[in-house]
Each structure stands twice: as C-alpha cells, then as structure tokens.
Symmetry: D2
Subunit: 352 residues, 4 copies
C-alpha cells in the first residue's frame, strides 16, 4: 500500500505501508479526495511535532468505506464519507466533565492523523469509531466542497465560536489563508456587521470580500493595530479571531480587542517557548479581554452540521479550492504547492 | 398638536395633545416615518392592555430631533434618529444585577410608548434619556429600512437570541408576520442550516424563502408538529422561535423541540389566564427543553448594531415594507391595513 | 435470585428473577445499601409510568462488584461502588451535539432502572458501561452517605444548576423532602445568600435550616407566593428551584421569580395533561423568566464530583437518613415508610 | 481637610485638600473605617501608576454620609454606607453592549479612587452617583467586616467567577494574601471540592484552611506546578484563580490548568512589558485553557450581595483583620504595616 510520508524533518517521499487493521468499531477508507494543509508543511519542514520517520502525512480527506468493524451500526462498505481531521475517543471520563472531546484522552489527543497515527495520504487509511467519527457526503455536495469540511471549515468556524461573535458586532479576522477565510464566512453566519480581514495576498483579500469581509487590512499599509484602532475611532473590536500568523498576532489581538471583548485563537503557534500578552493593553491583568484558544471540534455531528450549512446554501467552501489534480500520484505536487504558496493559491485538492 | 389615539377599546381617532415637555436628558422628536404594528391592533381592538382613553398609539418611528435637554451630549436639534420601541431607564439597580434593561424598573417597564406614556403617532413625541435611547440613521439607509429597526428587526432577532441558535442547527420559526420574518433572517445570521418557517400566507412564505427559510410549513397541510417531526424523522428541532400565534403555539413548540433544545418566545400572548406546557412532551418536567420568553432589547446600542447589520448588507429589512403612504394624515389608513391584513400586506409605512 | 418488584399498579411483592447477564463493558453488582425513593411510590401506587408487571423496583444503590465484562478497564470484582440512578449510553451522536447525556438515546433514556430495565432492589443487578457509570466509594465515606449520592444529592444539586444560582442571590427552594434539602445544601454551595425553603413538615424545616435555609415558608401560614413577595418587598426571588409538589408549584414559581430570574425544575410532575404558566406573571410571554427543567445528570464523574464534595466536608448528606434497616428482607418495610411518610421520616436506608 | 497622600513615588505624607464638591447625583462621605491595600503600596513605592503628586491614597472605606446631591433618591445624610473601591459611571453605551461596568468609560475607568481622583484616606471624600454606588451597612455588621467588602471580598470572589468554578471541581488559588483568602472562601461558595491554596506565610495558610482550603502548597517545598500535578496524578486543576504573585504566576497557572479548564485572574500585574503564556502547555494555542482576567465589579448591588452573604453567615470576612487602629492619625501606621508585611499581618483596619 503506497503512501506519501514524512521521511524525516525536511524530507517527504512515497513509502509502502501495511494495510491498516480494522477494529470492531472502526472503518478502513479509500480516499476520493485529499487536501494538503499548511500543518503538513509545519510538520515536515519546520519539525513542529519533532522528528518523525515514515509518518504518513495528511488529515483532510473524503473517501469510500472499504471495510467496517462488526460493531459499526450506521455505515457500510461503499458509503462515501467525510472524515474529520479530529477523530476523538468519545467514550471517556473527560467528556463527562465537560472537557471538549478534542482533548478527551489528554490535550490535543483527538488530533490523531499524521500526529499520533498515520495520516490519510495513503491508498487506504483507518478511522477509529466510525459511527461517531464519520459523516455521509450529502447528495449533491461536490468532493471539492466536502474535502474542505474536515479541517478548513470546522476550524475557521471554531475561531468564530471561541471569539463568541454576536449580532451587529465588529469582528477582526487575523490571517486569511483558507482557515481565516472560513472564519470570515463563519463570522457573517454568527452576526458580524463590520468585519476586518487582515492579510496581504490579493487573491485572499478578494475571496475574503466574497465571504463578507467589509474591510481588508494589509500590514504593508502600516501597523495593523493602528489601522484598526483608527478605523474604529479608538474603540477596537468586539471579537478578534486569530486564524494565522506568527506569535506576534496574539499581542496584536490583545491590543485590538476592546475591554469586555473576546479573542478566539485557532492558530497553531509553531515557534518559541512563550507567547506574549502585552501587560498594559491587557489592563494589567484586569481588562476583561478574554483569551480562548482551541483545537477544532471533530466527529460526526460536527461534520454533519457543517455539511448542512453548505447544503442549505449558507456559504460555499468551494471558493477555497484554487487548484485541483486528478490522480493519487499528484499528491506530492499538491503538497509542494502548499510549501511554495504561489500567488494564485488558496487550497489545492487532489482527486484520487 | 395632532395625534392618532386609542379613544377607548375598539375605537381610534385624531385628538389634540399638548406638546411634550423635554427633560434634562431627553429629546423631542418630529416623526419622519411611522409604522403601525399588530400590537397597536391588540391594544385598541382587543383591549390587551385594558381600557385606555386618549392614549396616543404607535411605537415604531424614525424622526428628526426638534429639542434636546441640556444634559444631552451626543445629539442635537436636526439629527435624524432611530427611536427604539423600548426605551428603558438605564440607570437602575436592576441592571446592576443582570436584569435585562427592558425590565429595569419592573417587568416590561422599558416598553413605554403607547403603554405607560403616549406613543409616537403624533406630530411630536418625547424620548427619555436621548443619549442612551436614540441612534443616528446611518447615511445611505432608507427611512423604510430604518423604521423597521425599532421593533420588527430587534424583536425578530431577539427570538433568535433567546432560542440560542447555533451553527448548522435545525430551527423552526413559528409565525411569519414581519417579526417572524426577521427571526428567519436573524436565524440565518446565527448559523441556522435547515430552517422551517411556519405560516400560511403565500406572500409571507415567499419572503421567508428570500430571507433564508428552507421549508415552509402550513397548518392547512396538517398538524404542524407532525409535519416537522416527520420532516426531521422524529428528531425535532434544535431551536424553536415563537414569533406569533395564539396560546397553543407554546404547546406546539414544546412538542417540536428536542430534549436539550431551546424555545425562544417573543410573541405577546394576549389571551387567557394560563399558557400550557404539555407535561409528557416536556419530559414530565425533566426533558431539558428550556423555555425563554422576553421583551426585545431597546436602547441606542441595540439600534446601532441592528443598523450596522443592514449597512454592511447582512440582510435587508426593506423587504418587509409592502405598503407606503405619504403624509401624516394617512396614518389611520396604515393602521386600518394592520387591522384588516389584506393578502398582499406585510408591513405598511407612513412617511410624514 | 430474589427481588422486590412492582407486581402491577398498586401492588408490590417479592419475586424470583434470573441473574442478569453481563455484557462486555458492563458489571453485575451485589447491593450493600439501598434506598427507596418517592419515585418508586409514584411508579407503583400512582402508575406514573403506566402498567408494569414484575418490574424490579429501586434506583438508589451502592454495592460490590461481583462480575465485570472483559472490556471494563477501571473496575474489578470486589470493588465497592456508587451506582448512579441515571446510567446513560455515553457514546451517541446526541452527546456530540450538546444534548445532556440523560437524553442521549431519546428523552429520559438515561433513566433505566425500574423504568426501562429492572431496578436495583435485587440480590444482584446489572449496570451498563461500568467504566462510564460507576464510581468507587471513597475511603471513609459511610454507606449512608454514599447511597444518598445516586439520586438525592445529584438531583437536588441539579436543581441549583438549572436555576443558575449566583453569589449573594435570593433563592427559593420549593419542596423540602430529601431532594429539596439537597437543593438547599447545593444552593449554599453556589452562593445563595437569603434562602427560602418552602415546606410544612417540622423535621424537614429543621434540617433545611441545618443545610443553610434562612427562612422557612409554610403554606399553612398563607399563600407561599404572597409570603415570599412580602418578605422580599415585592421584588421576588432571583432563582427558584422546584424540588417537589403538585403541578401548581410551577405557577407559583413563575409568580415568585423576578423578571430576568431563572426557574430550575427537578420535580417529576406526575399528573395532568398540562402544566400551566400564568400568562400575566410571565410577562405575557416577555418577562425574561427562564424556565428550565431537567433530569439529573448521572454517570461516573458526576458521582465522583458529588463524592468529592462530601469527602472535602462541604456538606453531609448523611443528615437525610432518618431510618435504617439491617437486611435485604427489610426492603419492603423501607418502601412502606416512603409510602406512609411518618412525621419523623426523611429518607430510609436498607443495609444489605 | 487632612488627607494621607502619595507626595511622589516613594514618599507619603499628610496634606491639606479642599473639601470635595458634591454633584447632583453624588455624595460626600466621612470615613468610619479605612483599610490600606497592597495596591496603595504598589502605587506609592513601585510607581505602578506612574508619577503622581499629592494624590490622596486609599480605596477601601466605609463611612457616614455628610452631604448628598439633590438628585440622590435612596440615601440621606447620616446613612452609614459601604463604598466600593470601583465606582463606575453606569449610564454609558458600553454597558449597553455588555462591557463590564468596570470599563464603562474605557479600560479600568471604574477604578477611580487614588487613580483618576483622590482616594478615601481623607477626612471627607467624594463618591459619584450615590444611588448606584453606595450600599447601606446592614444592621449587625461590624465595621471590620464591612470594610473588607469594597475590595478584598469582591475581588477575591470575582476571581472565582472568572475561573467559573463549578460543583465538585478541583480548584487552585495562587496567592493567599487577603484577596486570595477571599477567593478560597468564594470558591467554596461556588462548589469547589478539593481546594489548593498556594502560599508560604504560616498565618495565611492557617486562615486559608479555615476558609476551606484542603491543601496548602508552599513553593519552599518545590515547584508549585509539580506539586499540584503530582497531587492530582498529572490531571491538573479544573479552575485556577490567580490572586497574587509576580508575572510568572500566569505561566504556572497555564501549566496547572487542565485542557478545557479556566484561569481567572484578579491580580494586578505590576511589572514588565509582557506576560508570558507557555506555548506548549497552552496546547500550541489550541488547548482550550481559557484565560480571563478582570477588574472586580463595583457598585451598589455588588456590595449588597456581598453583604448579604456575610449577614446570612455564608462566610466571615472579619477573619482577615489582624490589626486594628483607633483614630485617623494611625492611617500612616496602617499603611506602613502593608508595606512591611510582618508575619502576623493579613489586613489592618483603621477606625476613624
């Protein structure tokens, strides 16, 4: 079984892997469409997860079920399914006490693919607890749309949830790669009125406007904090969503946020021992600027709900897909695109 | 000063009133556009507030300021303003303990116009605490749009807030008069996926679809509870918004709502000593079907936030306005329309 | 295997049952202490669940494990455990969408004992998903204390959660049987200041004061609504917990609750087709008096958390136990006590 | 009029000030009891607010009203009142949009005494908006108890609110000076089970146990993070309250907090440009460890609610008062005590 793997830090390549075994509650999936993610780039080229050898990459997939365990109730061989990037164990004590399932067996434990087990860039891959972690692709949804759900859509929308956007509020989305663009779309679907999108790539800015951004803030035009404070007459934003950027974006978010406002982070901070909160802008600890950061929810119902938004035409994640490839062998090219980020790229998809 | 008043239960007419006095923090307004409301009909023809004599009607207005008290900081004569239907006293102990401002001096006390003081259907009318209760009409907003904000928009949206709509959820809006239509629009802007709108008037159904309803449920096709349970394969709705109807709609809402779901009511229940909760469908008291009912928020910031949604093109309340009149004298015709409810009516506006 | 059962409506008796089979994730328990509950009385003598034949009664137990399935990880034969009255299936889609586990397979589905399967008044009984639904009895906890946790404590405390008690608030607990007394104790542990306990039995009133009630309201002294409104100078209560009583208590709760207040119900309403909300006192639908009613949470962590409160001396549920019996055969006497409710009874316990 | 002031950074002294003018809604107060605070020490000796000259110190007072403005409704000359440290302007747009009143005119704007106006260490002092910011001292409350409410009690309790303590949870309070001790007392009154109090002073540890701490963690016995993780078998705490300490405590709090847990900060961080979040322990941005930091609520109702807890015997703030002085002239000694912090000090009170 062929798979595209991280051979070691800085190097990818095709390897042979054993076909995954299928547990009683599990399923084995043949991919139909795959999407490389910036996280894959972090993992391979920045060593963000540390050294790994022959780890299969990838966590964004839709596919067809080729095997199910005898305990699986709701899915059968041949079903076409959305596979969330986050596939928690849902039967834990942590969940009983209100810990998000993403952390049900320890912090970030729901993030399994290409982290604590092989990823989805493989001729076949495994999913734990199929009934709880798979969702059918609805009739009429394109594979391009569907493969945006496992990570881009749910992560972008989770930023909106963490930032607690409400009706008529002023919202800032920092970072308008594909996740940030989904935060823009999601913020509109939670009631944002004025919506600042912070980014510098012209294509992303254009798509951000399509998704509902009202103001594009480009760091090339000056400090983004100053620009947003000026535009809001010093008041700042009600809600700030961090969907990309280096460590410094957290500082900027605190400065942009009003007292009583909320900062939601879905960015994977990849570097440095510490993130920094600017003491005075945070009210010397007492400014009521809440800071939430979290891994996106996964699992079946999350995928079904995101899919329901698409099928009811609340937004179209398909606008994210700028590049497509036909054939599993093109995966490496798709990954290279995410590495090189040409100006016309938002997100590539490889149809298998 | 002429005004259109409830003379007694069942009878309206033009009367003369004294020009209102303007307190230190208050303002006097000359209306630019007025909208009659079903509540006015309840008040006059059903005696819903009890007997009243020579009470000026109306609580939906935009206007121009003709006088401000010496303590008013942010508004001046000549400003064109949105006047919320609900104008609370914001400086109370109730607010300190988290009671919604609508009830800051006792239940429903924020509802002043045509209830505990004269309404806005007058050549001039009074507003308490102008800085806290008025909002400028933004440049570019039509008077038709603006005059939908004081009640229709904010009330419809409050139903959505009370029902706690979230991403990808299944939502039911019971009643699709103008308030319910705004609940439909608002539910989309809080993340509703599938959205059932319950109503029988063809025009309202058509506009509900424009605002984002995906399914129209008409009682003429059978029991609405059965229809919705069938359509959701017995699961019911995550959120139910009651925006109109007789007492029975609360029972229906409980039956439609899933365990763990939320019912938000903004309907003014006008009749009977009791509303009824069906015991078994409510889980014999233990079904976790939360019931919230509340008067819409008022005040300046609420109006500004609703206006910001319109100006940022999140929705257009102007679709509600099916009939317009030019001239103060046409108010009585507008009111009669609300009384008679012809098939082509959603909401009339009278430009003064 | 002997068990105390409902033979039919109105009649109890000892029967023989088969030893329960133990599934892969399950356990079989031998009771150490059992407590009859008013719900058992409702079931048998009022037919509240409808006709049942030879249904084993009882849902309050602590016991010793005599068998575990091969998939059970954290428990072994010989462990002494608390068995919650509510034992949900925790691996469901409902939980993924935020439905309380109590309803994870349909409304009230977590309530299994003496409802959808045989109860615990048996020489041996079954528990589903032992790892998720059992908790060890902590060293040093008495069996009397422990057997109050499965229902009395968690249910009383859930009333407090549903009513959202906060610091320094005025709280009313309607009904001061054992559940209501735990609501009193729980309200203190959520910050209640003034705490009205509504009940007429002198012993219960005395224990309510021990748990922290500051005012006892007895219906024999006049209408309870009037008494509480008088005592609060017309203001009403911030939070009302319904822990017992006939249908009418919901009406009373609405009248007692301030606008912006919250009503939490854990009472099992046993009669009538409808519960009634007084229309005017509920602000004609718009008074922001939230109504929550729910089945108590169950499961392992809930029991562990309640036990942690006891072991850290936050309160002592042992005060509830007024009558004890030694020997399984005395179960029928215990049950009869709950039926007859002598003046000196709060809660009986049968040690096996 | 004599007052104890900060003359400049590092120097205090008695000065003469003009009697304060009393606005329409305001009051002038003669102190009955005053308490120096660590914040006063920060202000004078660490220049935490920057250079100030002849700024009257103090923000913890109870007193007697000597003058009221003509618009004051509920208070009169001679009333004995609690004066909160935080006295917001309650009639602002910020409050309408849900910003805590503490920030109603900009971040931290509710903190007026000894910050943006003269403090309370004066023969007479001013309070803005008396009806909204004063509370009567209840009959039977000692002045020692009462003067703990304006800051110590409300601030400690706010830490508990920010950390969202719930039933049966494991809570850590970092810092057990008087504010931290009130966080301990408050955490018990929100349902904490196991309660770690972090501090090294024996007297404070002893009082912490009286207020309900179950475990005392002393940094002299090793790293506090390690100690708490060991004691919880690596699980960490559900809720962490920061009530004192240098910048490093925020890092520690993040390490101690479980995924899905909440950190509440009421500590005034006095030094450095940045606070630091440990990146990996914060789940590289995605660990769902919420960080809330906020200035304590002020105003009348807050004082009334805190007072109601004391009067209903939920806790006794009087345990904090270790040193008392008779006479206004002893204020300087009291302040010196807070500066020198002898081993037997928790909090001094000066009776005037």
């Amino acid at each position: 079984m062929r798979a595209l793997a991280m051979l070691k830090i800085g190097q990818t390549g095709w390897i042979q892997k054993e076909r995954p075994a299928c547990g009683v509650l599990d399923a084995v999936i043949k991919p139909l469409a795959l999407a490389p993610c910036t996280s894959d780039i972090h993992t391979v080229y920045e060593g963000a997860l540390g050294e790994r050898q022959n780890l299969v990459l990838g966590h964004e997939a839709v596919g067809e079920i080729v095997e199910v365990g005898c305990g699986v109730m709701d899915f059968k061989v041949g079903d076409k399914v959305i596979v969330p990037a986050i596939t928690p164990n849902w039967r834990t004590q942590a969940i009983q006490e209100g810990v998000p399932a993403q952390h049900s067996e320890g912090m970030l434990s729901g993030w399994k693919y290409s982290n604590i087990k092989d990823g989805v860039f493989s001729e076949l891959f495994h999913v734990n607890d199929a009934d709880m972690n798979l969702a059918l692709i609805p009739d009429g949804m394109s594979l391009s749309q569907a493969v945006m759900l496992p990570d881009m859509v749910t992560t972008g929308f989770h930023g909106v949830e963490l930032a607690q956007v409400d009706f008529g509020s002023t919202v800032v989305v920092i970072g308008i790669g594909p996740v940030g663009l989904m935060s823009v779309a999601g913020a509109v679907l939670r009631g944002a009125a004025r919506l600042f999108a912070v980014g510098s790539r012209p294509l992303c800015a254009e798509v951000a406007r399509k998704y509902g951004a009202t103001d594009i803030i480009n760091y090339k035009n000056g400090d983004i904090v100053d620009q947003i404070l000026d535009a809001t007459r010093g008041r700042g934003a009600d809600h700030v969503i961090i969907a990309g950027g280096p460590s410094e974006v957290l500082e900027q978010a605190v400065r942009i946020c009003k007292p009583g406002g909320v900062i939601g982070n879905v960015n994977y901070f990849g570097e440095g021992e510490f993130l920094r909160i600017p003491r005075e802008a945070w009210g010397v600890g007492m400014g009521h600027k809440q800071i939430n950061g979290g891994l996106t929810p996964g699992g079946r119902v999350r995928m079904e709900r995101m899919a329901a938004l698409v099928m009811n035409k609340r937004f179209d994640p398909g606008l994210l897909v700028t590049h497509t490839f036909q054939g599993f062998d093109h995966l490496e090219e798709g990954l290279a695109l995410m590495h090189n980020k040409p100006a016309d790229l938002i997100k590539p998809v490889v149809f298998v």
